[in-house]
């Protein structure tokens, strides 16, 4: 059957909701990558097998939904029981029977599965009351955790494809672009370029063929929002892509998905096929002249393909080497045709802009950075996961209110944003409102939204070395400043981290960085020295400690540290068995000793010690 009108969409919605009304309760099981890794699928299967044997009034397996990522991966697997919103964390297969018995058959809340607020030590029953969720405003993630991503009807029941219907039947392409411009939406992929302006420049190029591409390559280490959206709500991305296609006059679109995200590929593929079946992709969509189809292109692992010209080469099956961009890809992109390229999160925002209006969207966030932004809040923060917050919120609110502060209450040192092109911001910047411009002004950037929190045990020289190493490996190798410059920058950082640094090395790194920034061909090289420059800017003393004192204050750089067991050692011998190099000796209930000759500083003893008596410095 083909859906050809807004009325039919409403019909599908009604049928779906009527079907759902049979159930007194619904169970949402998070099947994002994090929860799946912790056994979410087994929990779904357990529900299935129990419900096969047992009949419960007003509840069948159809009321159990495998949904996309809720974001709170730290606490997974997550099970939510609607309509109350009862929020169970760290659920195990053996708990399922109990949950069915108590919380579904009757209304009992099982205390032990509830989330405990780390600050107040209070058990919290409903998820909207959990601090991690209550400070968020979910727009791009609006359907994640609410709908079954592989069911197009669930998406439609939540208002899906109404925006596309509205756009196609009541608006001209020009109106669409004006609306997107009015919303102030800026690209969520990194640069923060105005989406409306990008679409306008592409639409303005006269050509028989235009393309739209959704970038789901997500190369930034430490970010996984695009993965979660593609896995958990693929239709909102497709709907956004279709609206963009209509606006710029494209008949063909591509979703470029990382092949390392198998579930994202499967859900995207399923969503595309379902859309074709329902007539939401293909010829004369909603009985208009608009024809549009989408194909999947799978990325094969190259960070540089986040660069638009490299990505387009990759879509065409070539090596992802960027080309110099004096001609922009909106003019000459894929197959040399005008192309709009936006990332997953950007497209996911589009349908709701048309549902609620550009003014509504522009009212969220700050004046120049409207709307919300999804961040992957990870690192040494207590509540790790995926969050969405209005632009302009402070780093402190994100890290301490939503993230619950630093693990083990250690001191906060820095937060890294923007991936390998971004930088590290110190404690003094915690009250910085987060938006595109403020981050850039302070030596970091928004990037795709990775937010990696670091504590006093994170060495900033090591962080700079890590990112530079990453970029050396990911450089396409075409231009010299990037290929050779970053390589030498990494060599200098290795030298410093191994205690061979000289005072002049800092100047050398700064000078080399300046050339790499100014002379590289594409964004990868031009922003490559950022992690180094921002750590030098805010944590210069750490570099000096490595160079002058041959000391790594955070206890990370292996050549500069030693492991020692303190007098508080209880003599439990756990470290002795953990040490694969037989470097630790000692007797029961006596303080153990590490043989520095044998110690490889592998960290196994620290992980094994339950009394925190191994001192690394």
């Amino acid at each position: 059957m083909c859906i050809t009108s807004s009325r039919q969409l409403k019909q599908v919605r009604k049928e779906f909701l009527d079907g759902d009304a049979r159930f007194e309760k619904k169970v949402m099981i998070c099947c994002g990558t994090g929860c799946l890794a912790n056994g979410a699928q087994e929990i779904v299967d357990e529900f299935d097998s129990i419900l096969r044997k047992k009949r419960i009034k007003g509840f069948t397996i159809e009321a159990v939904r495998s949904t996309g990522c809720h974001g709170f991966c730290e606490q997974g697997p997550l099970v939510i029981i609607e309509p109350r919103g009862t929020f169970y964390t760290k659920v195990k297969v053996k708990d399922v029977a109990d949950i069915i018995e108590k919380s579904i058959r009757s209304d009992e809340v099982i205390d032990k599965h509830l989330y405990t607020d780390p600050a107040t030590k209070q058990k919290i029953e409903r998820y909207p009351d959990v601090a991690f969720f209550s400070h968020q405003q979910r727009i791009a993630l609006r359907n994640l955790g609410k709908i079954a991503p592989h069911n197009i009807k669930d998406y439609i029941a939540n208002g899906g494809y109404q925006s596309l219907a509205k756009v196609l039947t009541t608006m001209t392409p020009d109106d669409v672009i004006t609306e997107v411009s009015k919303s102030g939406l800026r690209g969520r992929g990194g640069g923060g370029f105005s989406a409306g302006r990008k679409w306008r420049s592409c639409a303005d190029v006269e050509s028989d063929t235009h393309y739209v591409i959704c970038n789901g390559d997500e190369g930034d280490p430490g970010a996984f929002m695009d993965r979660s959206i593609m896995e958990g709500d693929p239709h909102s991305v497709l709907e956004g892509l279709a609206i963009a296609a209509y606006a710029v006059g494209a008949k063909e679109g591509f979703v470029y998905v990382r092949d390392e995200y198998p579930l994202a590929v499967v859900h995207m593929q399923k969503a595309i096929e379902d859309c074709r079946k329902e007539g939401l992709l293909g010829e004369n969509i909603f009985e208009t002249n608009f024809c549009f189809d989408v194909h999947i292109a799978r990325g094969a692992g190259a960070f540089v393909c986040g660069e638009s010209s490299a990505l387009m080469k990759s879509v065409a099956g070539e090596v992802g080497e960027p080309r110099a961009k004096y001609v922009r890809s909106v003019v000459k992109g894929l197959h040399d045709q005008p192309t709009v390229l936006n990332n997953v999160e950007t497209f996911a925002n589009i349908p709701i802009i048309f549902e609620k209006g550009a003014d509504w969207y522009a009212g969220i966030g700050t004046k120049k950075s409207t709307g919300t932004k999804v961040f992957s809040l990870v690192g040494k923060v207590r509540n790790t996961g995926l969050i969405e917050v209005p632009m302009g919120i402070t780093l402190r609110q994100i890290i301490f209110d939503i993230g619950g502060g630093i693990i083990d209450d250690r001191p906060f040192k820095a937060v890294q944003t923007g991936g390998p092109s971004g930088g590290c911001l110190p404690e003094s910047k915690l009250d910085l409102p987060v938006d595109f411009d403020s981050l850039t002004e302070n030596g970091s950037m928004m990037g795709s939204g990775g937010m990696i929190v670091m504590d006093d045990r994170t060495c900033m020289v090591d962080v700079a070395k890590y990112f530079t190493d990453f970029l050396v490996k990911e450089s396409c190798g075409k231009c010299v400043p990037c290929r050779e410059g970053l390589y030498q920058l990494h060599k200098l950082l290795v030298k410093i981290s191994e205690g061979r640094g000289e005072e002049s090395d800092i100047d050398r790194m700064e000078q080399l960085s300046e050339v790499i920034v100014n002379a590289s061909l594409c964004g990868l090289g031009q922003s490559g020295p950022n992690p180094l420059l921002s750590t030098l800017k805010y944590f210069r003393d750490e570099y000096t400690a490595h160079i002058r004192d041959k000391r790594c204050p955070a206890g990370v750089c292996r050549e500069l540290i030693t492991y020692n067991i303190t007098d508080e050692c209880t003599g439990c011998m756990a470290c002795i068995s953990a040490c694969a190099y037989h470097a630790i000796t000692g007797q029961k209930k006596k303080v153990h000793v590490i043989d520095q000759e044998k110690c490889t500083k592998c960290g196994a003893c620290v992980a094994a010690c339950r009394f925190n008596t191994i001192d690394v410095r």
Binding site: A324, V480, Y487, L521
Partner: protein
């Protein structure tokens, strides 16, 4: 035509022309290792970087590679500003760390006052500067026999699978275009070897002089519509033949006249 300023001098250039061409026409020398007229500009070596600005840019400057930056009306270009020199020196310094023995790089670096790299020399460096001229010219000629393998710092130019390249015809364009003479070949007048593949040379039926490889000749016959028998003689034999033919005709003419 557009008018721009290069090092303080007003210059006129053709619309669509690249900055480097306009600069060189003025007799200004700037290095460029990845640029060759036979192939499209590439922008890899970045040595031809220049500084550009415009009167209405409010003092803002930008650095662009002149080999692929089209000339623009009102552009103000400095080819040897302090920043540009620093960029060029650094790039040459970096090059020297990778290719310490490449004569071209040594000479270029020396011109900028560098005799030894200030960086750590790259282990197993060689003379390849990864300018991509060889692969690009091979693509341009239509053989696409060699290409880069790997990426980043470990990238290199190689025949596919490291074996004798099936699509190579032994034309030697890659070796001829290589600015550092890194691509090696041998040619003893009978056989030519390049990229680990042997090619038999066509020999002149008259003089026995070798010309091009059999594969290359066959390609030109097939794809460029050159008659096969053109390749049976070397250039000097062709000339002799032409002289004889013309001589014969003239001779007949003389006889008829007489």
């Amino acid at each position: 035509m557009v008018t721009l300023t290069i090092n303080g001098k007003l210059v006129r250039a053709r619309e669509g022309e690249m900055l480097l061409d306009a600069i060189r026409r003025e007799g200004i020398e700037i290095p460029a290792t990845c640029q060759h007229e036979a192939v499209e500009p590439y922008g890899a070596c970045r040595l031809c970087t220049v500084e550009i600005t415009k009167a209405d840019w409010g003092g803002w400057k930008n650095h662009v590679t002149s080999c692929l930056y089209p000339v623009q009306e009102g552009l103000i270009v400095s080819t040897h500003s302090e920043d540009v020199i620093r960029i060029r020196k650094t790039i040459l310094d970096l090059f020297l760390a990778r290719c310490p023995n490449a004569e071209l790089i040594q000479n270029m670096a020396a011109e900028y006052g560098i005799t030894r790299t200030s960086y750590e020399e790259v282990p197993d460096g060689n003379d390849c500067i990864l300018c991509g001229l060889c692969t690009r010219v091979c693509d341009k000629m239509g053989f696409q026999a060699i290409s880069t393998v790997g990426r980043g710092h470990g990238k290199e130019v190689a025949p596919p699978l490291g074996e004798a390249p099936p699509d190579c015809v032994g034309c030697l364009a890659c070796a001829q275009i290589c600015p550092t003479n890194y691509i090696k070949f041998t040619d003893d007048g009978t056989t030519r070897t390049i990229w680990g593949r042997e090619f038999e040379l066509v020999k002149c039926e008259t003089t026995g002089q070798p010309t091009i490889t059999k594969e290359f000749a066959a390609y030109l016959v097939k794809h460029r519509n050159i008659p096969e028998d053109y390749f049976t003689r070397c250039d000097s034999a062709h000339r002799e033949e032409l002289a004889k033919t013309m001589g014969r005709i003239t001779h007949w003419g003389r006889q008829e006249e007489a």
